[in-house]
Symmetry: C2
Subunit: 445 residues, 2 copies
């Protein structure tokens, strides 16, 4: 599906962050790249970008992006970029002869909002607009947003009746996400010729008056990044989206993640790679294990704090990868391998700490069982999750989310409270029992 | 695809093994079940079985089998089962009106031989026969096999010219695996009416004379289980097929597997399940670890032997599962989980053995590194194998096959030679280096 993106305007209200608005990086990635990547994820595969202000810089960036992502991106020049955005749409009149997506370079959105459009069939001369029905959406600048009024059409489908910034009677907001057909071009030409109205909304209003604008309702994420306040909100929204990972255990969710996203927010601005973050976290764990083995309470306490710090940093690699579109199977695997080594060294450091105080077979055995139990839990997790997914969906309990977050937090607590043996016992018992529970479920299934 | 199986004959030459030939178990599974399962694997999904001698017993078995496998199996009765096998084919005349597979209940084969037929398109009135071109096939009883002569047909396709037991001039053998069309029924009727010839070969010869029998060449596995000698050969062939597992390491291939298949040969005759075998092997390993920890050379030696025995038995669960069609993801997973525990306990037992002699930090550290290295190798194996499969196919070296077989064999050698520390050092170094090598390859990829 073809996709037209408007990126010609000056964006004066964000000048403080960069002279070319589409190229302003938000959490490390330029706005226009985020829009193109989200559209790509939703199914668009051929891009046309209308450039204007600072056109050459945007054009150069797009050329490199097209190479990196191996997708076709065609720049279209709008010399009248200082007029309203309808003129930009007209720049595509000669190249788009079938239905196409129409997006704004400064509107970020969840790919699902676009996905809803890609399967839509338009009637003759019809266009469609994704409408945000949440009139209390805190991400919206009420002064500036384009409002729409949606009503039931003749066949009970939702239709847009009117659209405009000043609308007093409205039911939702224009997300700037359209599915258009070439009818939009003639509507724009008429709107300009008749009323001198160069806005896209003007042409949409004309089509709406004929009942030709479908409304696709949404309550998903989107934001118009128009001024510094919206920019901050958008950053925060992108960071918040990192925090709802279904696999996160309780410690990750309520303690580690809130801190790690704050750190990731700064890390994305540099050139640090996710793998480097994984390695740094691993080295911190190794150092913590060494401090445990060193003996004495101060070293033990310091090691505990360092281990917990490493566990928090361990969240940043995935966050940075997601924010900068650097996620990969290999990255996740590398992180998992380092985590297993880190866990083993931490538990071995604690065991050593106790054995240095007093050589005792039970301590040795407990340390061994804690190490093997932690390992087994990770070893069984993948296969258990895959094999039992259907059964869990069918209603079985997913069991303890006894992941690395909880394990390291227990180690931290044990070190801080100087209760090393009890913590090793707890880890040994809980980890092995949970492994046995998984085996039992798998066998009975 | 429909599949007709001839199971009416008496099979007098195998009477010593059971009064109903199709029901004679070979390595725990009745002949007819093996034939049906192999055809099912090759793509057949609707079965018709011609029964005769001991028809009721066979019929009862088929009813239960149809339930177990959730497939339709329709019995067809041939009261003249004491005549030749062509009469049995005629029992299906009224139910089969399209192309169908024709198989013999006493011919075992590799599913690939049948798969070659399921994609074949027959000309009008044509049938096809899989022909074994290996005239020195040691599994063949030269006195009894039906011989065929294959020649190039008019369009350069292979055609059967003549077929029969006595053929002096021949190029291959009748495997008893046919793709037929209803033309076979009229050919049989004519052959019986004209010459009184009730053999299937007679009808095939008549069709061959008209150039209507395609030859599909093979050098794959098949065997006619007709007498005690062939039965023994078939057993041995099925067992040998267990031995070419591409994932087997050197110790598994040349030491463990040859012994374990001999054990499995007996295990399949009982009601032992693969999971029970896994558990038994695990308990042996646990006992071996206990003997290591006990101290003293005799216990060490005994533990080493027991560990190696457990490693051999550990091959039987998979072998029995494959021989008795009991393989499952869960079974493999259960075995893998127990193996990880077993490895850890064996290495911990050895570490304990050394620490009991002399408390020494380096020994403790070496034992820890051996345990973690063994774990990491298993932990990384799955993902490494999956992630790197493409690259390995593309020419990269698959790396050390340093699996469990080698690890336990090293433990056995170390215990037998009373060189426990050197073996722990070797395991610690090799396992961790190989893990690091995998990580390095994955990151550079």
């Amino acid at each position: 599906m073809k996709c037209l993106i408007l990126a010609a305007g000056k964006g004066s209200r964000l000048q403080q962050r960069g002279d070319s608005k589409p190229l302003i990086p938000i959490l490390g990635i330029p706005l226009i790249e985020r829009v193109i990547r989200a559209a790509l994820e939703a199914g668009a595969d051929e891009f046309y970008v209308v450039i204007g202000y600072q056109g050459e810089r945007v054009c150069n960036f797009l050329r490199r992006l097209a190479d990196r992502l191996a997708i076709p991106i065609t720049p279209l020049v709008n010399d009248d970029w200082d007029k309203e955005n309808g003129v930009s749409v007209l720049a595509a009149r000669d190249v788009l002869h079938e239905p196409f997506l129409l997006l704004m370079a400064d509107h970020l959105f969840d790919p699902n909002l676009v996905r809803a459009l890609t399967t839509l069939t338009l009637g003759d001369g019809e266009i469609a607009l994704v409408v945000d029905g949440n009139t209390r959406n805190p991400l919206i600048d009420m002064e500036d947003v384009t409002r729409v009024k949606v009503q039931d059409g003749p066949t009970k489908n939702k239709e847009i009746r009117s659209i405009g910034k000043g609308l007093a009677d409205f039911t939702g907001f224009d997300t700037g996400i359209f599915l258009c057909c070439p009818a939009i071009f003639s509507a724009l030409e008429q709107s300009i010729a008749k009323d001198g109205d160069t806005t896209l909304s003007g042409a949409v209003q004309a089509l709406a008056a004929e009942g030709h604008v479908k409304a696709i309702p949404t309550d998903g994420f989107w934001i118009d990044v128009d001024d510094p306040a919206a920019f901050k909100k958008a950053e925060q929204a992108l960071l918040n989206r990192l925090r709802d990972k279904p696999n996160d255990g309780p410690v990750a969710r309520y303690l580690n993640r809130p801190i790690s996203v704050r750190i990731s927010r700064h890390l994305v601005k540099g050139n640090v790679t996710p793998n480097q973050i994984s390695l740094f976290s691993f080295l911190c764990s190794l150092l913590a294990a060494g401090l445990f083995a060193l003996g004495g309470y101060p070293a033990l306490l310091l090691g505990g704090v360092l281990a917990q710090f490493a566990s928090i940093i361990d969240g940043c690699d995935g966050e940075v990868a997601r924010l900068k579109y650097q996620s990969s199977d290999f990255g996740g695997w590398f992180d998992a391998v380092l985590d297993r080594y880190a866990d083993a060294f931490l538990l071995f450091g604690l065991t050593w700490h106790l054995l240095a105080l007093e050589v005792n077979g039970w301590v040795l055995f407990t340390g061994f069982m804690a190490i093997i139990g932690s390992f087994m839990l990770s070893y069984t997790a993948d296969k258990y999750d895959n094999l039992l997914r259907d059964r869990i969906i069918a209603g079985a309990k997913p069991g303890l989310r006894m992941g690395r977050d909880v394990r390291v937090f227990l180690i931290f607590l044990g070190a801080a409270a100087n209760l090393v043996l009890p913590v090793l016992v707890v880890i040994a018992v809980v980890m092995n029992l949970e492994t046995l529970r998984r085996v039992r479920i798998a066998l009975n299934g």
